[in-house]
């Protein structure tokens, strides 16, 4: 007797049915879907506004069926601030990469946190600049080879990688910060939980929330997708530990 098979997993409503330009195995594809799933589960699609960055995810407004801005490089938190101050009832989030959040946009990142702005940042950390062809990022690890650190990053010359989650967690205006990863299914489940908690933090008006998502970048790292997920586990997580760095104090 054939049992009734029910479809239990499909494309979320907020994720537009278009092919993405992301490379095979890229963490952006996974994370964008998780953001869409959370928005659907919270039922907030019609009152959510996203801000896309400059970077691989610049075209994320083509993938999410939301009102969206495309901001200048690094300025998404400022754009989000402008929007949220005009419409405090909306859920406003930025989706940014290493260059956008940890390099050119560091001032905006620190200050949106300092202001305790009630917005959420999804920060994709893949330790490299993907869109422009694989240059060194502020999150590139010591010894990591990139097109602008061809011999491997050397601290004397190029400084040390920045841990944005820990950095921002020291700021009072921050209500929730977590670092998660999308390199395997178990961690993808944790990532979704963190994204949901971040959005809920915003909706409760508790302050700024940020989820740093460690992601594989197979193309720029010069590896297969499966090899790249192993690199996240073996190389990135020791330097960028997973966990919650600040949780909301409620009540």
């Amino acid at each position: 007797m054939q049992a009734e098979l029910k479809k239990i997993f499909t494309r979320p409503r907020t994720l537009r049915p278009v092919a993405t330009h992301y490379c095979p195995g890229c963490g952006h594809g996974i994370t964008t879907r998780l953001v869409a799933e959370v928005i659907d589960e919270l039922g907030i699609r019609e009152k959510t506004v996203g801000v896309a960055p400059v970077g691989c995810s610049v075209l994320s407004y083509n993938y999410l069926d939301l009102d969206m801005y495309e901001a200048a490089h690094g300025r998404a938190p400022a754009v989000a601030t402008g929007c949220k101050r005009v419409h405090p009832e909306l859920v406003v989030f930025t989706y940014q990469g290493d260059g956008d959040f940890a390099s050119i946009g560091t001032a905006e990142a620190v200050h949106v946190a300092a202001r305790g702005e009630k917005i959420t940042t999804i920060f994709i950390n893949n330790a490299i600049y993907g869109m422009t062809g694989g240059q060194m990022a502020p999150t590139t690890l010591i010894g990591q080879k990139t097109t602008t650190s061809p011999m491997g990053r050397v601290a004397d010359q190029a400084g040390f990688p920045i841990r944005m989650a820990e950095l921002l967690a020291t700021i009072n205006g921050v209500a929730y910060i977590a670092r998660v990863s999308v390199h395997n299914s178990k961690n993808i489940i944790q990532t979704k939980r963190a994204i949901r908690k971040a959005f809920e933090t915003q909706m409760k008006g508790l302050g700024y929330s940020m989820v740093e998502v460690l992601s594989q970048c197979p193309t720029a790292w010069g590896m297969t997708p499966v090899e790249a997920t192993k690199w996240v586990e073996e190389k990135m997580i020791p330097y960028y530990p997973l966990g919650e760095f600040k949780v909301p104090k409620e009540g």
Binding site: Y69, E70, V79, T81, R85, E108
Partner: protein, 352 residues
């Protein structure tokens, strides 16, 4: 409501509020600090939001967010800060977002000085930011005119979906004059259907400036240019002062035009037939006015607080039909009316 005694900066801020501006994002820089300070006090009184950004770069991007969300929004700065805003201004023009940007000019280049200048004319009218766009640039010359132009600026920005700049200088920003705020007449403006307010009951909107397909990007540029042409056709403002019988005409704008009026009074008393053309919009520039006057008048004296920027537009308007002499002070120095009298007399006598 009677007359109030206010600085130019404060008057511009109050005018913005009267025009319905409820959001101000800015950063301190002399000589315009009175604008954010006034806004920080007044906006909460009218249920608005004053937010001091971490930099001018952040401020202009907050404008992008707030304008994209449909609000009337303003920022103000000077020299170095306006330079920092240029990328954001290009983005605002590209996304066709209405907003008002106030530049209270100071001595430059670099950190320069805090005294008045007019050395940002090129930046304001010829570009400033990258790409093909133009700001509508209004140049008031009294505190009262700053009020009326600021109020108009918001309507013009909404009408054309384009950023508008108020080009003042440190003298006008700091001086105090009696000023009257007349009741504003609401203008019939198109509804903002393109704003980001949450995609409820409608397809989602996107506020963006990236178009990787050149066919699409050209269309955007053509639309921006179409608006620039419309602005050029409809929005030229200029004052002609005693030009009907003039044999020599001074070209000046802003504070310099005020000083020139004093010089003109004195020169007329001496029997010199001198007048002035004062552009009120420096973009669009009143080329036609200069062209017409140059049929009869063969001597122009351009006076600026720079080493000569508006003079290039005067030359375009005059088109070789008359002699053009330049007098300028720069680095924060303000020309006196005696200097303008002396230069005009040199021009009249044909002396170098």
């Amino acid at each position: 409501m009677g007359k109030e005694f206010m600085t130019g900066n404060e008057a511009i801020a109050e005018a913005a509020i009267q025009a319905g501006c409820r959001y101000f994002f800015g950063y301190p820089i002399t000589p315009q600090n009175e604008i954010p300070e006034y806004m920080s006090k007044r906006l909460p009184e009218v249920g608005g939001v004053y937010l001091q950004a971490e930099s001018e770069v952040a401020a202009i991007n907050m404008l992008f967010g707030a304008a994209g969300a449909g609000a009337r929004v303003m920022t103000s700065s000077s020299g170095p800060g306006i330079s920092l805003m240029q990328e954001g201004i290009s983005f605002l023009a590209a996304a066709q977002l209405p907003c008002v940007i106030v530049n209270i000019m100071r001595g430059g280049p670099g950190l320069g000085g805090i005294q008045p200048s007019q050395s940002d004319y090129f930046q304001a009218t010829k570009g400033g930011g990258h790409g093909d766009y133009h700001l509508l640039v209004l140049a008031p010359y009294t505190v009262q005119e700053a009020v009326s132009l600021t109020i108009e600026a918001f309507d013009l920005a909404d009408k054309y979906r384009n950023p508008v700049m108020i080009l003042g200088d440190g003298c006008m920003g700091q001086m105090m004059e009696p000023v009257e705020f007349k009741k504003t007449v609401p203008r019939n403006l198109p509804a903002k259907t393109w704003t980001l307010t949450g995609a409820k009951g409608r397809p989602r909107n996107v506020v963006k400036t990236l178009y990787l397909d050149p066919v699409a990007l050209e269309k955007i540029n053509l639309e921006i240019n179409r608006k620039v042409q419309e602005i050029t056709k409809n929005e030229v403002r200029v004052e002609t002062y005693q030009t009907d019988d003039a044999e020599v005409v001074i070209a000046a704008y802003g504070t310099v035009a005020r000083i020139a009026k004093t010089a003109i009074k004195a020169l007329r008393e001496k029997g010199v037939k001198v007048g002035m053309v004062r552009p009120i919009t420096v973009f669009p520039f009143p080329y036609e006015t200069f062209e017409k006057i140059a049929h009869e008048v063969k001597k122009f004296l351009v006076v600026e607080m720079s080493f000569g920027q508006m003079i290039e537009d005067v030359k375009l308007g005059v088109c070789g039909k008359a002699q053009i002499r330049f007098y300028g002070r720069t680095g924060g120095m303000v020309p006196s009316y005696e200097e303008i009298i002396a230069e005009t007399e040199k021009l009249v006598k044909g002396v170098n």
